[in-house]
Symmetry: C2
Subunit: 412 residues, 2 copies
């Protein structure tokens, strides 16, 4: 009979971690490399050591617990996520995957199962982007450069103080790269952070890929003018192009790009007075698609739409790229391993893309990466209201365990 995790030990650990940086309302405040963030990782690595597992902290601050294969030349199957949170975030996002990974190692060890791979539970540094985002997994994948650390989101002073607090240095972070040949794969358990599993009542999400993201700054230029003396039909009002684009972009995606999303999260008019017709409007555009080709089609359609909407109101449109993250398809092998795990446990499952970014997107180009989702109530996350039924957490951890066993015994 295949093993299952120890649900009591799993719950004790989950609850203990949720106390570190607790905000008292069900949430946690554990920004990466903050006092609470560091405390959480110290507690976790101590729990791993108590369980008799080998522990390791790499140059990027990634914390690992390792269960060695009898074969010293074996590859490593990584199981991980992150313990850092957004400011005043929830207690499930990231934490669930890290606690489950440790529990999987203990369960395999307790069951005396010898595997042809090393199992490594890993807590990645700064997934949430307090400083840069995905630092730990990007460093491991060799995707970080000195340049990517130059302009941390919270500023250099916070970054340098945080590094000092954690005993880290930039040079160490850049040296944390692993040889892809040393890896057997990567599996991550995470809450969905969207409403699809919750709304459908399905137990397990098998992630097909992590969506690609592109962002742009879109500007419309018309003519600022007196809002009282300029007749309505003589205006070149930049607000009209911007507003029409917001509505048309949504229509375009809903009609022609099912499964994709678009967002205009920022908007500003200039000069910005009650009594002056806006001669200038600027907006932020972000859109996501699960496949490279679909992302490119969506991009072309939105750029065209932005320009056409401007022309319609006599405006000049300028559109400038502001960022890009390629879609990361999850490995077929990992998806099969997760599906077989769900089936062996009698759980319902559905294949779906992840609309949010995760450490798995950094691992995907390197090794066989896969993700398992469990339901988030109402799709809410990054909030103390974030909630996943305990039953779903246990199911997710058991799927992680069995998917890891499935992956471990495959040949490379």
């Amino acid at each position: 009979m295949l093993p299952k995790i120890n649900t009591e030990r799993f719950q004790d650990d989950f609850d203990a971690l949720a106390q570190i940086g607790s905000t008292g309302d069900g949430g946690v405040n554990r920004p990466a490399l903050s006092q609470a963030g560091i405390e959480a990782r110290r507690w976790w690595i101590a729990r791993a050591a108590e369980a008799g597992l080998e522990t390791r902290i790499d140059g990027a601050g990634n914390h690992s617990a390792i269960l060695r294969s009898p074969d010293p030349g074996a590859r490593t199957l990584l199981l991980g996520s992150h313990t850092d949170s957004v400011p005043s975030g929830g207690r499930f996002d990231g934490a669930l995957g890290v606690i489950a990974a440790l529990e999987v190692l203990r369960t395999v060890r307790d069951a005396d199962i010898s595997l042809p791979v090393h199992l490594e539970a890993i807590d990645f540094t700064d997934e949430e982007g307090t400083h840069v985002g995905l630092i730990g997994s990007a460093a491991l994948a060799g995707q970080l450069t000195a340049k990517s650390l130059e302009n941390p989101r919270g500023g250099r002073a916070l970054w340098e103080a945080s590094l000092a607090r954690a005993g880290l240095a930039e040079v160490g972070i850049l040296s944390a790269r692993r040889d892809p040949k040393s890896l057997a794969g990567y599996l991550e358990l995470h809450i969905e952070q969207g409403p699809r599993l919750f709304n459908s009542g399905i137990d397990i999400g098998v992630v097909s890929g992590i969506v690609g993201i592109k962002s742009y700054r879109v500007e419309y230029r018309g003519e600022a003018n007196h809002a009282g003396t300029t007749p309505m039909d003589a205006r070149r009002d930049a607000s009209l192009g911007a507003s029409a684009f917001v509505l048309a972009a949504r229509d375009l995606v809903m009609k022609n790009f099912p499964g994709c999303v678009v967002n205009v999260g920022q908007m500003a008019f200039k000069p910005g007075a009650f009594n002056i017709i806006p001669g200038y409007a600027e907006l932020s555009l972000e859109f996501r698609a699960p496949e490279v080709e679909r992302l490119a089609q969506l991009e072309a359609a939105l750029v065209h739409l932005a320009e056409r909407t401007g022309a319609q109101y006599g405006l000049v449109c300028a559109i400038e790229p502001a960022g890009m993250c390629a879609p990361a398809p999850m490995s077929e092998r990992a998806q099969r391993a997760i599906i077989a795990a769900a089936e062996s446990l009698g759980l319902s499952y559905a294949t779906l893309p992840s609309g949010a970014g995760h450490d798995a997107m950094m691992l995907a180009p390197l090794t066989n990466a896969g993700m398992t989702f469990v339901s988030s109530r109402g799709g809410i996350s990054h909030s103390p209201l974030e909630f996943t039924e305990w039953r779903d957490c246990v199911n997710g951890a058991n799927v992680l365990l069995r998917a890891a066993l499935n992956m471990a015994v495959e040949r490379y």
Copy 2:
């Protein structure tokens, strides 16, 4: 034969004033009570004194030149405008009317015409709102209170420094009220600041009234959410209500409210990130109509539209008044006097509302107020590009002269 102004003297004065605070590109920078603003008024009052006119500065800093009637108990016919400008404004806005008023007094005096009214050319303080807006004319009309001076737009420090520079005090400003029974009327020559005369080639605008202005802050509340994981059809995106309102408000006014205008000059989304669906959108709404009743109808229609647009996207709409200025119809008598003046000079004219605010709106409830417009090239104003053909300036000044004579000889 009826007199005409001295065009050479008029032009010399106009050009001399345009040098004070000149920005070197045809524009002037003469904010109210700035160094250049004060210098302009000193120069103007000196020109009046040189012409042998009586001069006066009231508690609100309004500068006047007076040509007395032989009847010491006569009423006063005011002719005025303002010498202050917006920052980096044009040389015609306000200045034209003040120079023309002085020229009218000199012309009447030179022609040895005795009138049954005193003629007073007046340069009102802070028409443009560097501090509060329409301070001089509002003070004269008894419309200012200590409260209206509490929150000057440029802050109290600038206001207090400006008062000290000009030798003024708030108590003096509040004491500048005139008895309406002392007034025979008010006439103002101004550039149109809109394109109607320019586009139609008509010489003279006879202002029927100054539009009423209402402003609101409109808020839409939805739900901030993850821009990647929240499906398009599960969003309560505040940007949609705000954008739809911008477009629908314009359509409403263009279809159902000819002669009225609407403007959304400010827009902001919150939380305001590329990757977060805006849960909150705020916009500024301003609309204008020439009559009280029409303004009320437009207000009701726009408030209803704001709410309906919100409901359409599942948003809560809150709409809060942010300001109001009642329509100011110009006196029939003043309009007849201006029309007769234009006809006597063989000039074409059209009756039109003023979409912009002017000192005349403060005088209208008090006395027979009237305004004459001349063409602005392309409707441009509040810019160094502001331009009025010299021919039109002269025509305007002659209309002001003859309208003043027409008003002066009427019985009260």
